[in-house]
């Protein structure tokens, strides 16, 4: 006999609203349904009404934690439209801030994840160390969260030698703390009991569902945009793509901890080999972009972030489309939450699994057509969207 409980839209583990309807029999989950449409802010429409320089600050606020990734992706996109490239020093500085924001995001996720597992002490320790990273971001960019560091044609300010000294000291501290935390996590039976064998996602399923980022790498698939499509000097900086083979929540924790080490090494390399020169191109604040379309991809802390824009020759985009990594990862939650033979999922595993994909629901939204006149509501399927976009694209040409 099963009944339905809903995790959401408001729930202590959700930072943003998300509806997960579970059918449970006792503690065992037998069926799952996901609904994402609770937080649609109309950002893509708002971008069509703003010149490119104003759109930069709007794009940054799509997500508080990935703001460096969103603004970097936007700048790459517009620079591609203009046919320009940032100078070498700007590329390395962009890498420094991007990797700092990746460390910040992973520390935040680790703290929040252990909070959902009930381990509040590690939650407090991780967030205390995250404060050091935020102090560094504040020193380099002027603000703790919305860094506003990238601009079209480069970065907005340079890195002073004092800031570089403090940054190196903070990186040493973070690396030492992370090694200690990794030892604790590997040796604590309660954590291992809650994360090992929980939320299995086989590599073939992961690729079929279109999963990206550390979630994909935790299922053993080696895919990273920084490796496949280096976008800001990543081909000059050596780094390892971390994968783990056990495909469960423990793998996701390990991948993210090890990515912090890689980010620390990348920042150190970038600081050691920082090219000299200008840190931004001279581009006037208001400009008309030549007509065309451009696609840019960035490895945000949660996965592959894609921005696509169409320009019709004006000073604002004709259409701007954002595909965030969480939207790609959400389908896998449904797959992981279903109990199959030999694989049982309990209600207590829901925070572990949902948290494992590092959800940032504010980045995702679903197209829902509400017809006021006829009082009908339909949700578009993938086939509908493909058909409509092909028709509209053909009409525009």
């Amino acid at each position: 006999m099963s009944f339905e409980i809903s995790i959401g839209p408001q729930h202590p583990i959700h930072v943003e609203p998300l509806m997960l309807r579970l059918s449970v029999e006792g503690e065992l989950i037998v069926d799952v349904d996901v609904d994402v449409s609770y937080i649609h802010r109309g950002i893509e429409k708002a971008l069509e009404a703003r010149p490119y320089i104003q759109g930069l600050y709007l794009v940054e606020r799509i997500c508080g934690i990935c703001n460096a990734a969103h603004s970097l992706c936007y700048c790459l996109n517009v620079e591609q439209l203009l046919g320009k490239e940032a100078p070498p020093r700007a590329k390395y500085l962009r890498i420094v801030v991007e990797e700092l924001s990746r460390i910040h995001s992973h520390l935040l996720w680790l703290g929040h994840y252990f909070h959902t597992l009930g381990f509040e002490t590690l939650f407090m320790y991780f967030w205390r160390d995250r404060e050091r990273i935020m102090d560094m971001l504040e020193l380099i960019t002027g603000n703790r969260v919305t860094t506003s560091y990238n601009t079209i044609g480069g970065v907005r300010r340079d890195l002073t030698p004092e800031a570089e000294q403090r940054l190196r000291r903070t990186l040493d501290y973070i690396e030492e703390r992370m090694r200690y935390y990794e030892k604790v996590i590997d040796s604590e039976p309660t954590i291992l009991a809650r994360t090992q064998g929980v939320g299995i996602l086989k590599p073939s399923d992961a690729v079929r569902l279109g999963v990206v980022g550390p979630h994909l790498r935790a299922s053993g698939v080696k895919h990273d945009v920084r490796l496949d499509d280096p976008y800001s000097g990543h081909d000059e900086i050596p780094f390892n793509v971390i994968t783990w083979d056990t495909c469960d929540c423990y793998a996701r924790v390990k991948v993210r901890i090890r990515e912090v080490y890689e980010s620390v090494n990348m920042i150190r390399y970038a600081l050691d080999h920082m090219p000299s020169g200008d840190y931004r191109l001279k581009i006037p604040p208001f400009f008309k972009a030549p007509p065309g379309e451009s696609l840019s991809r960035v490895e945000a802390p949660r996965g592959e972030l894609v921005h696509y824009s169409i320009s019709d020759g004006g000073d604002r985009p004709y259409r701007y489309k954002v595909r965030t990594p969480t939207l790609a990862n959400l389908l896998s939650v449904v797959e992981m939450l279903r109990s199959r033979d030999g694989y049982e999922v309990y209600i207590a595993d829901v925070p572990a699994i949902l948290g494992g994909i590092d959800p940032c629901i504010c980045c995702s939204a679903r197209v829902m057509v509400t017809d006021e006149a006829r009082r009908r509501r339909t949700i578009m399927t993938l086939e509908d969207i493909i058909k409509i976009s092909r028709e509209r694209g053909a009409k525009r040409r």
């Binding site: 509040e120 809650r194 309990y346």
Partner: protein
């Protein structure tokens, strides 16, 4: 007779216990925060000592909402029954003397039985609120009872066997006669089992499964608000006194210590509170060190490890004593 009634109401009875329970909640929260490099309560009163009082007053002043489909009898009865049961059990604790206000042969078993009835009250409280999360929490609480009850009983019984008496007062006097606490000996295993199973009884991390905030919102107490929630929280604080006091009395010698004749009740109380704060500190440390287990993991852990340890302990006690 009159003295017994006055003692039961004022000292060391209900009023004293309620005040000390708020103090223990402060100790628990402050220590927990310090383990995490935080501050803890610091604004209400000096060092935040009045914070639990402030929380209680706030809860008492909130609106009282009863869901339409809830069972009225259970919804009203269980918040009153829970602290009453724990208060009754606290009357057996030897606070101001070698034996408590109520004391008879076998009162250790009575305390254990009262604790089990308390958990059944929690189960009824959860089922009486017509909420799915509450039902899940209530069932988890009952399942957890199946896990920890026997090791808890066995650890306390082995201490009784070692002391040769089934009343808490008798165990305290046996420790006073021998001059050493029961914990110095094989009963240290019993103390370890007692600490772990008390965490499960009090529903604290790593066993706060029935009210896991991150999974089922507040579990069995999700529908209770205002005065009813205040009574449940009070019962939790009283449970802190009960279980830390029980640990102090049985394993650490209770209120026994060097006395000045004439000032005995005061000194006994001070020793009792000091020793039970030590036990409380151990509880808080355990709370800070682990993640939350799943209910099936908890029950299997309890039956695999705690039960075997308890059986070994009973055998050791029989052999050595």
């Amino acid at each position: 007779m009159i003295e017994k009634i006055l003692a039961a109401i004022f000292f060391p009875g209900a009023v004293f216990l309620l005040a000390v329970s708020l103090l223990y909640e402060w100790v628990d929260r402050k220590l927990y925060a310090r383990f995490q490099n935080r501050v803890g309560p610091h604004l209400a009163g000096p060092f935040g000592l009045l914070q639990p009082v402030a929380d209680l007053i706030k809860l008492l002043s909130k609106e009282d909402i009863v869901p339409m489909a809830a069972d009225r009898l259970l919804f009203t009865l269980t918040p009153i029954l829970a602290p009453a049961l724990i208060l009754l059990a606290c009357m057996f604790l030897p606070i101001a003397g070698p034996s408590g206000i109520i004391s008879f042969k076998g009162d250790l078993i009575a305390v254990i039985a009262l604790l089990s009835i308390y958990t059944i009250t929690i189960y009824l409280a959860g089922e009486g609120s017509s909420n799915r999360f509450a039902s899940i929490g209530a069932v988890r609480a009952a399942l957890q009872l199946i896990g920890y009850e026997i090791p808890l009983t066995l650890s306390l019984l082995s201490a009784a066997i070692a002391a040769g008496s089934l009343s808490i007062g008798g165990i305290v006097e046996a420790q006073a006669e021998r001059g050493i606490w029961l914990i110095a000996g094989p009963q240290i295993i019993g103390f370890a089992i007692f600490v772990i199973t008390s965490q499960a009884e009090m529903e604290r991390i790593p066993f706060d499964i029935p009210e896991a905030e991150q999974e089922i919102v507040a579990g069995w107490e999700v529908e209770y608000g205002g005065r009813r929630l205040a009574l449940f929280r009070l019962s939790k604080d009283l449970e802190l006194i009960l279980l830390s006091g029980l640990g102090a009395a049985i394993f650490l010698g209770g209120p026994i210590g060097p006395v000045i004749p004439g000032l005995e009740p005061v000194l006994y109380t001070i020793y009792f509170i000091l020793k039970s704060i030590v036990v409380l500190a151990i509880f808080t440390l355990v709370r800070a060190l682990f993640a939350r287990l799943r209910i099936d993991q908890m029950v299997s852990f309890s039956w695999k490890y705690l039960m075997s340890l308890a059986v070994i302990l009973i055998i050791l006690t029989e052999v050595i004593v």
